[in-house]
Amino acid sequence: MKNPFKFKKEIVNADLFNNDLPLPHSEEYPDEEVIFSVKDFQFYYDNGEKHALKDINLEIFKKKVTAFIGPSGCGKSTLLRCFNRMNDLIDGNKKEGEILYKGTPIDTLNTIQLRSKVGMVFQQPNPFPMSIYNNITYGPKCQGLRNKKSLDKIVYDSLNDVGLYEEVKDQISHSGTSLSGGQQQRLCIARCIAMSPDIILMDEPTSALDPIATLKIEELIRKLKEKYTIIIVTHNMQQAARISDYTAFFML
């Protein structure tokens, strides 16, 4: 059993907020800048009994869409959740190897700082049961932003970016859960980009949506690519072909 009184020392790295920092170029694709690199990564569940990820070597390129495809249970979502250390919340996890974010191993970073730079959109739309405004300002408020004007600007910009502003501008104080499924998912994306992250992780964001809402999300991803690096897990090969620049195939 782990010693519960032993806390892992986490450092806060100010370099992560510097977007002008020169990133190393990939050896295989010399044009691309590497933002995440995964080296000999192993991941286990159940105290090492279940070997979920085996020898992963992968590079994620800046401002590109990388799609993860593969059969069910092959560990796509597991790897995705390793990027923002959401897997740390699961009991009995164990990892070997390392993931570097802008050259820094993520395990040494402060989780709050890492998660504010690496946003995540989940499979099921999961807006908080509060107003649309509060949903979007949740992240910035947690970081201590209190200025009403800047918060208003963040809400306007994020809703505009996801193309939701025209649809919800009259009901900005209504509950986020009162929107339709596709709108909820776009609200979740808006909530995520309100933190102005570098990377957006998307865990099958369209699997709970109808084709039209899916199409809207795909268009949105193509648009967001200009500003953000996107990693998307998908079961749909056509979708991967439509939206991704690079594709990682996972084998069982």
Partner: protein, 422 residues
């Protein structure tokens, strides 16, 4: 062994069983119906008995008056001389249900004390009435008779110099005829309504307040630990089963703990001796904690994991997630826990007999023993002459509070479910 593929004729079996089953089902259904009917009948009998016995005794005077009676003895001054020509009682307004003494200028009316005995109230006094001159027998000071005191007996001196006494049990006519013979009032006894529950009622409210102040933060903290932080390992399982078990401990054992630990503890800090509201509240906190932890934990567990993940993925810390996501979404559980706690505090008697005290005081006190309504019932039934009627009247109050509380939990659950579905 080889499997034998024997064909089973199901339709034949069904046909054979159908009659059999009918009787079996009839007996089981009938007995379940009978038993549940019996339960309902018994419940209604109990409630009916309490309502029937106590309803007459549940008067405003019963709720607002003290348990102890205070009395005052009055007489006319020693140099008082009755002179018929001195008095003019024409200002006295006449009512049908009031009896008047023309000689003394007073109006008397029948009333009831908290034991439903007939008593006489002095309801009207003429401005010129000699009753304004009455002084206390003990120190000779003037005394204005308050309207909530009733007249229990009066002793007068007649013209012949003899004394004559009229009791309120003998009726107003007797008292008025006695007064008509009088030249001075030798002794008259006025009493406040005794046997009331006002102190116990106020103490119960204080006890609920302090119990919730002590128990809710502790219980919510425990629930957050068990429902949010705790990993699913052996230690957590042990803690959880201990919490479950402690909700089954008889409350009198907690009362023992309250008497042996909290009374000296509170006493060493505040200098009090014996039980008081704080020792009672601390003991009730012990009794309520398992319930509060369980209720709030269940409510925290119904919060979708995805919502907590979303909060953490947005860079919120655990503390921010708890205060912004977990607690606001488990507010129904917290309210339910508080209401359960209130109900339990009102109904608890065994533990509070030790931890709070059994002395029905004249006013609620933070430094000495008190009673809640339930302990009040215990007190008035434990004596030589059990006052079942008053006990039933208190029970009606407790019943009403409990019914209102359980209805409000239903309302809270309904409102929050509707809000969630929307």
């Amino acid at each position: 062994m080889e499997k034998k593929n024997k064909k089973i004729n199901l339709s034949y079996l069904i046909e054979r069983n159908i009659k059999n089953r009918k009787y079996k089902d009839g007996i089981t259904n009938g007995s379940t119906f009978l038993f549940s009917l019996l339960c309902v009948v018994i419940l209604f009998l109990v409630i009916g008995y309490v309502l029937f016995t106590g309803a007459n005794y549940l008067t405003p005077g019963f709720i607002t008056s003290n348990y102890s009676q205070s009395s005052v003895a009055l007489r006319t001054p020693k140099d008082f001389v009755y002179n018929e020509n001195d008095y003019d009682f024409s200002d006295l307004e006449r009512f049908d249900d009031t009896y008047y003494s023309e000689k003394w200028g007073i109006g008397l009316q029948y009333g009831k004390d908290n034991n439903q005995n007939q008593v006489i109230y002095l309801v009207q006094m003429s401005e010129n009435s000699p009753f304004h001159e009455l002084v206390r027998r003990d120190d000779g000071t003037n005394f204005n008779i308050p309207s909530d005191m009733y007249l229990s007996y009066i002793t007068v001196q007649t013209e012949l110099g003899t004394y004559k006494t009229a009791f309120s049990e003998d009726g107003i006519e007797n008292m008025i005829s006695t007064l008509d013979e009088a030249v001075s009032i030798y002794d008259s006894n006025f009493l406040t309504l005794g046997g009331g529950i006002s102190t116990s009622l106020i103490t119960t409210c204080y006890l609920i307040l302090f119990t919730l102040i002590f128990s809710l933060p502790l219980g919510i903290g425990g629930a957050i630990y068990l429902g949010y932080y705790a990993k699913d390992n052996r230690i957590t399982r042990i803690i959880r089963s201990l919490v479950d078990m402690s909700s089954g401990i008889p409350s009198i054992i907690f009362g023992l703990v309250g008497a042996t630990i909290f009374i000296p503890f509170v006493g060493s800090m505040t200098g009090t001796t014996g039980g008081n509201i704080f020792t009672g509240a601390l003991t009730m906190t012990l009794i309520l904690l398992p319930t509060i932890v369980k209720t709030v934990e269940e409510s925290i567990k119904t919060i979708p994991k995805s919502m907590i993940s979303a909060s953490l993925a947005l860079g919120a810390s655990n503390t921010e997630t708890i205060f912004k996501i977990v607690l606001p979404n488990s507010i129904d559980g917290i309210l339910n826990a508080a209401i359960l706690g209130i109900g339990r505090t009102i109904g608890e008697s065994a533990a509070l007999v030790f931890a709070l005290g059994t002395f029905i005081t004249a006013a609620p006190s933070f430094t000495s023993g008190n009673t809640t309504l339930a302990v009040h019932i215990w007190y008035i039934l434990a004596g030589e002459y059990p006052a079942y009627e008053q006990a039933c009247a208190i029970s009606i109050i407790i019943f009403c509070v409990v019914v209102v509380l359980s209805l409000s939990t239903k309302l809270i659950n309904y409102l929050f479910r509707r809000k969630r579905e929307r």
